[in-house]
């Protein structure tokens, strides 16, 4: 069972190279961006100059920490955004492509159950893609910190203190891991829905997946004059419950960030317990489970001929 799962997940990564190509491409773009800014964009380099070196003379480490933390959060969100798009396309393709190219008959000629196959696709969307993204985030941070360190050292600065001493790396990376995995779990009902659509649709899975999500709320709004469906599916009564007493506006408040040196511990903003206790999260997981089961049944009972 576990051996088959590992083999199946490896197969998913072979087939869907975008799982690692996309994060790698973003990592390269971010790194090239950093390089270009340091080498060619005079204004940016000057600002960074002030942030990093100026801090030695000005009000302590705060500003430097804000700049570096901003870089951490900014790149991480970039990966999360790409991850979301990647997951949509991956899950919509996962059970559709094998029917389209008729390889489903080959896969089903092997001693592997439909449940194992669909589960491997769910696990890929839910865990593998987020983990690859987190690895890419960490690698991007490392490479960019090294580049910035070289730049600082070339200017005669103490990179060990100015760069590596300013950011709680493990704290940030643990946060990135938690936020990424939690986002995938929070969005799992969508993944389940996409898998289900991917298993049953005869054509254009993208259209089939999104049309009901747009049309049903519109119909409800026009005829019933309510927004129950929209709220249940999209807003789910607020933000992902991982964020503590969360108010995004407050989080990004410039003054607060600028003058609160403690702001750099991203982990302190997360509340795993609150996430695990959230009925809304569990309801989503349940919906994901039901839709995935439906996808298994469609793959098993549908006759492709």
């Amino acid at each position: 069972m576990i051996g088959n799962q590992l083999a199946l997940i490896r197969r998913e990564i072979w087939e869907h190279r975008s799982i690692y190509v996309t994060p790698a491409a973003i990592a390269v773009i971010v790194t090239l961006g950093t390089l270009a800014m340091l080498l060619f964009a005079g204004g940016f380099a000057k600002e960074l100059d002030v942030a990093i070196f100026g801090a030695q003379n000005l009000a302590g480490d705060t500003e430097r920490k804000v700049v570096l933390t901003g870089f951490f959060i900014g790149t991480s969100w970039l990966f999360l955004f790409a991850l979301a798009i990647l997951t949509v396309f991956y899950s919509l393709d996962s059970l559709y492509a094998e029917r389209k190219d008729k390889s489903i008959l080959f896969w089903r000629s092997l001693p592997i159950t439909d449940a194992e196959t669909v589960l491997s696709k769910l696990l890929t969307a839910l865990i593998v893609i987020p983990l690859v993204a987190v690895i890419a985030i960490i690698a991007t941070h490392m490479v960019n910190l090294v580049i910035t360190s070289i730049w600082v050292s070339a200017k005669g600065g103490d990179a060990g203190h100015l760069i590596w001493g300013s950011v709680p790396l493990l704290d940030n990376w643990a946060s990135a891991l938690l936020v990424t995995l939690a986002s995938a779990i929070w969005m799992s009902p969508f993944i389940g829905w996409f898998l289900f659509v991917s298993a049953f649709t005869k054509r254009s899975p993208l259209l089939m997946a999104f049309m009901p999500l747009v049309v049903i709320p519109l119909i409800e709004l026009i005829f019933v004059r309510s927004t129950v469906f929209f709220e249940a599916v999209f807003t789910r009564r607020g933000m992902m419950p991982l964020f503590k007493g969360m108010d995004m506006q407050e989080f990004f408040d410039e003054d607060r960030l600028r003058f609160n040196a403690e702001a750099v511990s991203l982990l302190s903003y997360l509340d795993v317990g609150q996430f695990l206790r959230s009925p809304s999260m569990w309801a989503g997981v349940l919906v994901c489970g039901l839709l995935t089961t439906a996808a298994i049944y469609v793959r098993r009972y549908r006759d492709e001929s």
Binding site: N4, A7, W14, R108, S109, L110, P111, S305
Partner: protein, 285 residues
């Protein structure tokens, strides 16, 4: 003899259409059975039911298992080629061998590699880069590396040229078939396989028209070449097919003793293809 496949009253409907209609038969161990039928006869549906790819009504047991409910267990001991194009196009040959090794308990990597070494398929090639014939060679190498009890081939040589087709069947007989294994094969090109079959089954409109061993065909069916008046007399014995060829009549009889026919002309055992056409036409009347 042990029955590998046992079907009793098996049916499969699609809406109002009965693709397989109350079919009963047995396939014994060590046989090579040809399943012959025109397009839409229900061959593929029947094979899918045998392979657990579709559910059906009636009692169906393959290797003592219920194919639809126990597909995973069944697939450890069955292998099949459903059509030449089903290997995923994105996979490379070496990855395919890896995947088979990881997931199939009866797959032998050594055997697959030995078989592939005899072909022109390179291990780093992607399936999408291979020609149709090479894909079939690859698929067959993979399948033959599985130590399976039953091999099911559904139109395995569709779209291949004659050289590949000949090679395919000679590989199958020489490298795979050992008298312990059992093969079920469907094809349109009956004449290519008729001398390797031990048993034959005709299917049309979801029903079995004939289920016999190849040996018994010569006893049950006889073809008479006769001309002129003799042919007219011979027609009185009720041939199931009546064709003209080079000015002679070719008459096909079922269950008529050879010594009763000898006086009218030359006798011979009918080709499976001719027998098949006669049976299907007869069923339509």
């Amino acid at each position: 003899m042990t029955s590998l496949v046992s079907a009793k009253g098996v049916s499969k409907r699609f809406g109002d259409v009965r693709a397989v209609d109350n079919v009963s038969f047995e396939v014994e161990k060590g046989k090579i059975m040809g399943l012959i039928g025109p397009n839409g006869a229900g061959k593929t549906t029947l094979l899918k039911a045998l392979l657990g790819l579709t559910d059906c009504d009636g009692d169906l047991s393959v290797l003592g298992l219920n194919p639809f409910k126990q597909r995973k267990q069944l697939m450890r001991n069955i292998c099949f080629i459903a059509d030449v194009a089903v290997l995923p196009r994105w996979i490379t040959v070496s990855k395919l061998v890896d995947f088979m090794e990881w997931t199939h308990p009866n797959f032998s990597r050594e055997r697959a590699e030995a078989l592939l070494a005899e072909t022109s398929v390179r291990s780093d090639a992607k399936v999408s880069q291979l020609s149709k014939g090479m894909i079939t060679q690859l698929h067959l190498s993979i399948i033959m590396a599985i130590d399976a009890k039953l091999l099911v081939l559904d139109e395995p040589t569709l779209g291949l040229d004659i050289i590949f087709r000949k090679e395919f069947y000679s590989n199958l007989l020489n490298d795979y078939f050992d008298g312990e294994r059992t093969i079920i094969i469907t094809t349109h090109q009956v004449e290519e396989i008729e001398n390797l079959l031990t048993d034959i089954m005709f299917i049309n409109d979801g029903k079995i028209l004939l289920d016999a061993s190849m040996e018994s065909l010569g006893e049950r069916y006889v073809e008479l070449l006769a001309a002129g008046e003799k042919a007219d007399h011979a027609r009185g014995l009720g041939p199931i097919a009546d064709n003209q060829m080079f000015g002679k009549s070719v008459l096909l009889y079922e269950g008529v003793a050879r010594d009763r026919l000898e006086e009218f002309g030359e006798l011979r055992t009918p080709a499976v293809a001719d027998l098949f056409v006669a049976k299907v036409k007869g069923a339509r009347k």
